[in-house]
């Protein structure tokens, strides 16, 4: 238990030395983020542990470093989820990817004992295609701006000692010992930090409003209900560095005058929930959370509240209702949570990533912080990148980075045989952007001008093989199910928009549907009660704007990308068909008929468009038109 700020700084100094020593010595870091875990990282960890123990190399007491022993650590997500499990070995810094249990003896034998690399496990630089020994050497790494994730690959996600050794909680100690709440708020305001949850509202203003609203009881809430399909930045952050978020929350609590914090984390993120709970426990044990923090008289407690899986609970008023134990339904604003939030008390609610920025701002100062990003959107942003790219996963770049840089320089461009068509940014509430937007700098204001939004930070790359109408239909299928059902435009509107989009993908749309769809989307956007409904039509409106030709093609009975089954038509090329009859025997619908030796024919009425015949035909006589 640390009882004063001085005691804390002494302790921190000691932890810094320990950490430095660890990095200089032989240590092995295994990434245990959800991605790597899913690919078997825990098995690799166990195998390493066993192998080291067998050879009497394992340092059992992790914090007493012995020269001849090897330290084995779990580290948080490194962002390269598609190449997991990932293992890093220090002091050389060799970074191994796709490690399997079978690779463990070789790693121990070569790298740990002799300091030699296992080259075949090196990460492939997506840009050059070459295997590179260290993560830091890849274009993937060089083109990013790791700031929130600055200790990538060499942090212990479960250890508060390691976090403190990395400078953690020093910002909190500094705030508590030398800054007034007003000074903290001024600093956050001056940093230009904007809400990472999507809207980009100036964080400092929110803090100030919460501070200034009179009331003895105030709350701080962390929004970790990351629900966008394809977005997992918050999960990654909570898993890899829970203390960073927690520290941000405690500082916020001090700044706004709150006594209690709630971290609302999706129950579907069991690892994040566990990590965060452990972080709370560990922080309490050290006196960094709870009663009389570091003897400064400031008391603050944090509790984890697991979300039950409703997307709408990412909306702040619905989230607060959910914490209160009520049905997760948004309510009209004003009053804003800062005025009347949890149980009617002034409540500060920020995103996970927003809180993670706070300790950095305090540590580095406003001027240094603002060196990253643009004037209007300072700092960095984590994005999750998905789609048929060479590399996918979590990235961190400064605001103002272009999509081209992300897609081509960081992620190495499109995967083999894929051609870029569009990029969907901001999840179901976001927009689809076409090729012409690739050089647009990503920041809150520029995206807004393009009718798009940063959203939570999901980037999905769409190829020429994907139908844009289908993309819109997919997202509306999501939002129509996740609408809380309260307001008419969202509940009924998203359903009807979905129905119309389905008419398109089924080839049953008529010209009038296009106008109805557009008008309906505009009504949903303007008239809905909360952000879910207000942004739900974005996938429709953006595709209508940039890919209207695809909609028109569907009315005419064509799906240009060949995705929509109902619009597919298989025909047999009479010139190529040898009349073998193999296709007819294969067809599960019995739609192909003909006479042996003569060209066969497909009955379009009966054809289920499964494409089996195409696969079977040895003469490539069956064509998709």
């Amino acid at each position: 238990m640390l009882e004063s700020v001085r005691e804390f700084f002494d302790y921190a100094e000691k932890q810094k030395q320990v950490r430095q020593e660890k990095l200089n010595k032989r240590s092995v870091y295994v990434c245990v983020g959800t991605g790597c875990t899913a690919k078997g990282a825990l098995k690799v960890f166990a195998a390493l542990e066993e192998e080291l123990r067998k050879r009497n190399l394992l340092n059992v007491e992790l914090h007493k470093l012995e020269d001849e022993k090897v330290n084995l650590y779990r580290t948080g997500c490194c962002g390269r989820c598609s190449s997991g499990p990932l293992v890093k070995v220090t002091p050389e810094g060799f970074f191994y990817s796709n490690v399997r249990v079978e690779d463990v003896p070789e790693i121990v034998e070569k790298t740990i004992l002799k300091g030699e690399p296992v080259e075949r496990l090196f990460l492939v630089d997506p840009k050059t295609g070459q295997r590179v020994p260290r993560l830091e050497d890849t274009s993937l790494f060089k083109n990013q701006n790791f700031y929130i994730m600055e200790d990538i690959g060499a942090s212990e996600c479960e250890s508060i000692e390691d976090y403190i050794g990395r400078g953690g909680y020093s910002s909190l100690a500094k705030v508590l010992s030398s800054m007034t709440p007003e000074e903290v708020i001024e600093t956050v305001k001056a940093s230009g930090l904007r809400g990472r949850g999507g809207g980009g509202f100036p964080t400092g203003l929110k803090w100030e409003l919460t501070r200034k609203t009179p009331g003895d009881v105030k709350f701080v809430v962390c929004n970790g209900d990351e629900g966008d399909p394809g977005a997992f930045m918050n999960r990654t952050l909570l898993e890899r560095d829970p203390h960073l978020v927690l520290e941000g929350m405690i500082i916020a609590g001090y700044a706004v005058g709150a006594q209690k914090g709630y971290a609302y984390i999706r129950a579907e993120y069991p690892l994040a929930v566990r990590m965060f709970r452990k972080a709370i426990e560990d922080a309490k044990k050290l006196g960094l959370l709870g009663e009389n923090i570091l003897g400064t008289g400031f008391s603050f407690d944090v509790e984890v509240k697991e979300g039950a899986g409703a997307f709408v609970c990412g909306e702040e008023t619905a989230l607060l209702a959910s914490i209160e134990g009520r049905r997760g339904m948004p309510r009209p604003r004003p009053p804003f949570p800062a005025q009347s939030g949890l149980w009617g008390k002034p409540t500060l609610i920020n995103n996970v990533e927003t809180y993670a920025n706070v300790p950095r701002i305090i540590r580095d100062g406003v001027e240094n912080y603002r060196k990253r990003g643009t004037a209007g959107s300072p700092g960095t942003k984590m994005f999750s990148v998905a789609g048929p790219l060479k590399v996918t996963g979590i990235i961190e770049v400064e605001f103002g980075t272009t999509l081209r840089k992300i897609i081509y320089d960081i992620c190495g461009g499109m995967a083999e045989g894929e051609e870029f068509k569009a990029v969907q940014i901001g999840g179901p509430s976001g927009a689809c952007l076409s090729e012409e937007f690739l050089d647009m700098p990503l920041d809150y204001d520029t995206l807004k001008k393009a009718d798009a939004m940063v959203g939570s930070g999901g980037i999905v790359v769409i190829t020429k093989k994907t139908c844009m109408v289908e993309v819109a239909r997919f997202f509306l299928d999501f939002t129509k199910r996740e609408s809380c059902g309260k307001c008419v435009p969202c509940r009924e509107g998203t359903m009807q928009a979905y129905v119309i989009l389905e008419k398109f993908t089924h080839g049953k749309a008529i010209k009038e549907d296009l106008q109805t769809l557009e008008e309906l989307s505009k009504t949903i956007k303007v008239a809905s009660l909360c952000g879910l409904g207000k942004t739900a039509p974005n996938p429709i409106l953006s595709t209508l704007k940039l890919f209207k030709d695809e909609y028109i093609a569907h009315i005419e009975g064509r799906c240009p990308s060949g995705t929509c089954t109902a619009l597919k038509k298989y025909i047999i090329n009479k010139n190529l068909c040898k009349g073998c009859g193999l296709c007819a025997r294969t067809c599960p619908q019995g739609a192909i008929t003909g006479e042996r030796g003569k060209p066969y024919e497909i009955d379009q009425e009966r054809c289920a468009k499964c494409g089996l015949c195409v696969e079977k035909c040895r003469f490539k006589a069956i064509e998709l038109v």
Binding site: P332, G485, V488, P489, R491, E492, V499, S528
Partner: protein, 645 residues
């Protein structure tokens, strides 16, 4: 405060709750489907969109400010409103011609006002079945999810048996676990029906049963409740008619009713009896405060939520049941018609009365309860113009009533009537009233015999929950479940809002004003009834008193831990429900058992374990001889048991 609306400068009330109400007060009704002045702002229908300083906002959630520039008619707003209406209608069961709300449906009206002639969207009728398990019929295929019923049930009535379930397009209003409404703690007050803008909620239509009885040639006897006469005129464009009941008497005779009596006579009877009951209790200072028991929704509310307070309810039947019993048991003998040949129909403003008549203890008394709306239906069917019907007096002997008896139709009526009896018989020296909040009145009364008592008059069950916290301040409590009392009953015609209810209360006051009798004691026929038929106390008690039963969510099953045979004992029941258990009721129980066993009181004190006293907020709960001790401690229980124990 001055604002500009579509270029017109208007002076509005600066204290209005929101822009919608401010504009309503100056005669501009912004369309809305989920806004009720009586409950919290929900903001879900999005029909009340207006443009304020270039921004589209909902007027129900916007506060007006000086110099505000509002546009309520722009092509964009019209387009959006139409789209919203189309969206609602696409998912709505549009069987308008056979709907209970045909002609009084807000959605239907808007469809007409906005000229919706075609719906661009795919019809998606929601089929969740119709719940006919209670007098309140729920048809979710007509529900537009405005949530008015949910908020009225929760916020006004404090009952909260319905809420939203599921998400997206599957969202529906339902009870917990989709239990049929008839099996829930619903008190059937019908306030949800009163506020439902569509036909999703309606009252069971029982007119066919009347027709059947008439066809069978039974002697059909009617009785009309006070509040019915105030509301029925609205539908037929009649205003301030004080002889409405008499017109209805004449009308019902045309329909084949043999006799038509006035429920107000029953009210006189009830007040007379209840006044004596109260005076007795007051003298003995037992079972106080006495609760009125005229309102069946309130009675059911107590049975569900405050079973330990059932002894406080007056045991006098409600006017409907008391008069009904007199007609069936006394009158039938007088006229020499067998009880089962009389078909007794009561016309009520109330949905819960349908339930009351069906209660086990009241079976065979009132054969049919028809609401004001069903009576309206009967009038409409008959094609009779009530304006042209010559009023006829109610039949004797149960046809006259005092002013006070008629006053039962509005909040405060029962209290006033009981007080009139006491004034006649004991004398009132001083009376003083205060209104701490809307819907709650306090009274301080000094009687000539030196006793003083304090009364509370409440309407809206939600307010009762608050009152329950300081019950010890009162000796008599009048509760009417519906706002403004029976004039606002769930069976009254639409609209049934605050304004209309206030208006009805006014008509009732005028009607009372022309009555010559003031107190039930002056009611000649009532005096005669007492002299001739209710002289014998036991018989009287048997006829016009009743009892109640607890309706806890958990059946009353006690665990005998330290049983004592015989009657001369004290019983201690300790709640072992989850909430009480977590607050230490089990430890308390063990301590009590040990104490009883060790001390010399064994054999005189019985200890039982019980399950959920529905007072979880103040656990642990212990019942000592039926008296509830909340936040009980060992010492509290010992103190209650008394010194001899």
């Amino acid at each position: 405060m001055k604002i500009t609306v579509d270029g017109r400068e208007l002076s509005i009330n600066p204290n209005a709750r929101n822009l919608l109400e401010a504009l309503r007060e100056v005669g501009i009704e912004i369309p809305n489907l989920c806004y009720l002045s009586e409950v919290s702002v929900y903001g879900a229908c999005r029909m009340c969109l207006v443009e304020v300083d270039g921004q589209i906002v909902t007027s129900c959630t916007t506060k007006p400010y000086e110099g505000m520039k509002v546009k309520i008619n722009t092509p964009e707003i019209h387009r959006m409103r139409k789209t919203i209406l189309e969206l609602i209608l696409a998912s709505h069961n549009r069987d308008c011609t056979t709907c209970d709300k045909n002609g009084s449906c807000k959605l239907q009206k808007y469809a007409e006002d906005f000229g919706i002639r075609e719906i661009r969207f795919q019809p998606m009728k929601k089929e969740n079945g119709v719940d006919k398990s209670s007098p309140i019929v729920r048809d979710s295929s007509k529900c537009i999810l405005c949530g008015d019923c949910v908020r009225v049930c929760e916020e006004v009535q404090g009952v909260g048996v319905i809420d939203f379930a599921k998400r997206g397009h599957e969202t529906k209003v339902t009870t917990a676990f989709d239990t049929p409404l008839g099996e829930t703690e619903c008190v059937f007050c019908g306030q949800c029906v009163a506020y439902c803008p569509t036909g999703a909620l309606s009252v069971r239509d029982d007119l066919d049963k009347l027709m059947e009885a008439l066809e069978e040639g039974k002697m059909v006897v009617g009785m009309i409740a006070p509040a019915v006469r105030t509301a029925i005129q609205e539908v037929f464009g009649i205003r301030d008619e004080v002889a409405m009941a008499e017109r209805l008497v004449a009308f019902l005779k045309m329909m084949g009713f043999s006799k038509v009596f006035d429920v107000s006579f029953g009210a006189d009877l009830v007040a007379y009896e209840e006044a004596h009951e109260f005076h007795e209790r007051l003298k003995k200072r037992e079972r106080l405060p006495q609760f009125t028991s005229c309102c069946p929704a309130w009675v059911k509310f107590v049975e569900h939520n405050y079973p330990h307070l059932l002894p406080n309810l007056s045991t006098v039947k409600s006017p409907q049941q008391a008069l009904g019993t007199v007609i069936k048991k006394v009158y039938s003998k007088k006229i020499g018609v067998s009880e089962d040949q009389i078909f007794l129909v009561s016309f009520m403003p109330c949905t819960a009365k349908k339930f009351e008549a069906q209660r086990e203890e009241h079976r065979g008394i009132v054969d049919l309860v028809l609401t004001t709306r069903e009576l309206v239906q009967l009038v409409k069917m008959s094609r009779v113009d009530l304006n042209t019907v010559v009023p006829q007096p109610f039949d004797r002997p149960y046809g006259i009533s005092s002013q006070a008896g008629l006053g039962f139709g509005r909040s405060g009526g029962v209290f006033a009537c009981v007080l009139e009896v006491l004034r006649e018989e004991v004398g009132v020296v001083e009376e003083e009233y205060s209104t701490p909040m809307d819907g709650v009145r306090y009274a301080n009364i000094s009687l000539r015999d030196g006793t003083k008592f304090r009364g509370a008059i409440v309407y809206g069950l939600g307010k009762v929950r608050e009152l329950m916290r300081h019950l010890e301040d009162f000796d008599i409590v009048e509760v009417m479940a519906c706002n403004f009392g029976c004039v606002g009953g769930g069976g009254q015609p639409y609209p049934n809002d605050t304004k209309t209810r206030q208006f009805r209360a006014q008509i009732l006051r005028s009607t009372m004003g022309i009555k010559t009798l003031v107190s039930p004691n002056e009611n000649y026929y009532l005096v005669k009834l007492y002299e001739e038929d209710l002289r014998d106390e036991e018989a009287r008690h048997h006829l016009i008193h009743t009892n109640y039963k607890p309706r806890r969510r958990y059946p009353e099953k006690d665990v005998e831990l330290l049983p004592v045979p015989g009657d001369s004992k004290k019983t201690v029941k300790v709640c072992l429900g989850t909430s009480c258990y977590t607050k230490g009721s089990y430890t308390l129980l063990k301590k009590l058992i040990d104490h009883v066993k060790e001390s010399d009181v064994e054999g005189r004190v019985e200890v039982l374990g019980t399950f959920c006293l529905e007072n979880c907020g103040k656990s642990p709960n212990v019942l000592v001889d039926g008296k509830l001790l909340s936040e009980a401690t060992f010492e509290k229980v010992l103190k209650e048991l008394g010194e001899d124990v």
